[in-house]
């Protein structure tokens, strides 16, 4: 075990750095820039049962220290993901990968998880009950503890792979959702997905995004994410993956001190394709400076 290694639901990761779903495609766009096998793992683009084109354009808007997206789960559907994308992914990434799953009904979540769970290269299933950009699905399952538990139970019944429930910050109280997932059998939770927001074009006086609202990501949301990771990690026994605005090795360490077992990195990949590799390369020196010997020992280190 190296000093950067961490464990996620019984699977060893070389380091805790995980590109987040929706910011890393199926890996191969980034493999054109660097060997992505340096990553702990990554979470590939969210998969639904049928193909989705996503929302109308524009679906990207800039903000202070971040961005809004309203992509709306564009993906080719589970069949094509298995037939076309996963073989391409396997050529550039040789470790277990996280399959991110979205749905509009419990049956859809279950079917997509069953099929992706059967794929050998899939190490974990990350179930997105937190997309703010689709209607009638996604986030509606993540804002109610009973609905979150129902999805968790249904998915757990069809796969032996560890199930990570990805939670939304767009709730009054995230701890109760996380606890409901844990009680329903979730192996881990990942948080936070994007925060709902919007921008208006001053010249046209119209919303910038065709979907009107989108999800905020980037450094702007780091303190919000950190606070929720801090809260949730003290309320559940399962591992917490910290997500939200992480952009440096220091941010990774801060997120782990707040209670994260591993860290997902999203928007940073979009402005600098080398972001995750740079963070991994910078971690040892930052750890030395902070007198951290092994990363896996610092999770929750700030809890006291």
């Amino acid at each position: 075990m190296g000093r950067l290694s961490v464990s996620l639901c019984g699977i060893e990761l070389e380091n805790p750095v995980i590109p987040a779903s929706g910011t890393f495609g199926y890996g191969y766009e980034f493999a054109d820039f660097y060997d992505i096998n340096c990553l702990g793992t990554f979470s590939f683009k969210g998969t639904t049962l049928a193909e989705r084109i996503g929302n109308p354009l524009p679906r990207i808007a800039e903000t202070e220290a971040g961005m809004l997206n309203a992509v709306g789960l564009q993906n080719p559907g589970v069949e094509k993901v298995i037939a076309e994308e996963l073989p391409k992914l396997a050529r550039c990434f040789h470790k277990p990968v996280i399959a991110n799953v979205s749905g509009f009904s419990v049956a859809e979540y279950t079917e997509v998880c069953r099929r992706l769970g059967e794929q050998e290269q899939v190490g974990w299933l990350e179930v997105n009950i937190s997309c703010p950009n689709v209607h009638g699905g996604g986030m509606s399952f993540g804002t109610d503890p009973h609905a979150a538990a129902t999805v968790t139970r249904a998915v757990k019944a069809v796969t032996k792979k560890p199930v990570i429930m990805k939670l939304t910050p767009n709730v009054t109280e995230i701890v109760s959702i996380a606890r409901a997932c844990e009680e329903a059998g979730a192996d881990a939770v990942s948080l936070i997905n994007t925060i709902k927001g919007m921008r208006i074009d001053l010249k046209t006086r119209q919303p910038v995004l065709a979907n009107i609202t989108g999800g905020l990501s980037g450094p702007a949301i780091f303190p919000v994410a950190l606070g929720m990771v801090w809260q949730v990690s003290q309320a559940v026994k399962i591992p917490v993956i910290g997500i939200g605005g992480v952009a440096s090795a220091e941010d990774v360490i801060e997120m782990m001190l707040a209670g994260a077992a591993a860290v997902e990195i999203g928007a940073a990949n979009l402005v600098n394709p080398f972001a995750c590799r740079n963070i991994i390369e910078n971690l040892p020196a930052v750890m030395d400076r902070l007198q951290i010997n092994t990363l896996r020992d610092i999770t929750g280190g700030a809890h006291g």
């Binding site: 084109i53 800039e62 202070e64 971040g66 961005m67 997206n69 402005v271 394709p273």
Partner: protein, 244 residues
């Protein structure tokens, strides 16, 4: 596709709103006219995508209009400043489709990638016809640069203060083998609808990453969904589905 630091060699106004910036550095990532670069600017989260106008072994040129925060920020940068740039992004124009007498049509700063294309065609001994459209005489630019490579562009202005009055489509009534265009979506659509032969157009859409990862700029085409940044920005005129 490459990421590197470039130094600003020049950055000056061509008209009241249009600027030209030349940056020196490793240009080996740039392969075809019509490809774009994505420039990181201080205090702005997303990079700014701009078509490459011209390039050689040591530098490349972009033309841009001051229209918002990013371009205003670029306009204020002095020579000597270093910028983080991703180069060689997207698919450019396919020169093999040109035929003997291709037509190049640019609207405003949309002429930028067509200048590089014209240069590449001339190098292959193909002399294209060029139509450049502007709103008024004061906004006309880059005609001398086209003339310097042996092409006299046909100019249209909306108010008739220079060249032919009207849109670029007023000047298209002559035979050509293929067209290449870049400009506003309304202009591109009008060209595609009027042209008797196929062509290639460069589409501009609001992008997130610029290299195919975020799916922020996907448009639906007759050949399925295409990411403008990765599968475009140049599309075949016949595959475009125009939105109403």
């Amino acid at each position: 596709m490459k990421q590197a630091f470039f130094e600003i060699i020049e950055n000056f106004a061509l008209t009241g709103k249009v600027m030209r910036m030349r940056l020196a550095g490793d240009t080996s990532g740039i392969e075809q006219p019509g490809q774009f670069v994505d420039i990181r600017l201080e205090n702005l989260f997303l990079r700014r995508p701009l078509s490459v106008c011209d390039w050689d072994d040591e530098s490349f040129t972009v033309l841009y209009e001051r229209v918002g925060r990013g371009t205003e920020c670029m306009a204020a940068l002095p020579a000597g400043e270093r910028l983080d740039v991703m180069t060689g992004l997207g698919n450019g124009y396919d020169l093999s489709l040109a035929g003997e007498t291709p037509l190049l049509i640019g609207g405003g700063t949309g002429l930028s990638p067509l200048y590089g294309l014209a240069k590449a065609l001339v190098k292959r001994n193909v002399r294209p016809a060029v139509i450049l459209g502007f709103s008024t005489a004061e906004e006309v630019f880059y005609t001398r640069e086209f003339e310097a490579i042996g092409i006299k562009p046909i100019i249209t202005t909306e108010d008739g203060s220079f060249g032919i009055q009207g849109f670029v489509t007023e000047a298209m009534d002559f035979p050509y083998t293929f067209f290449y265009a870049c400009g506003t979506e309304a202009m591109l659509r009008a060209i595609c609808e009027q042209s008797r032969c196929p062509g290639q157009i460069s589409l501009g859409k609001r992008m997130g990453c610029g290299f195919g990862a975020c799916m922020g700029c996907t448009v639906l085409t007759k050949n399925g969904p295409k990411r403008i940044c990765k599968d475009g920005p140049v599309l075949n005129s016949e595959e475009v589905l125009w939105e109403d």
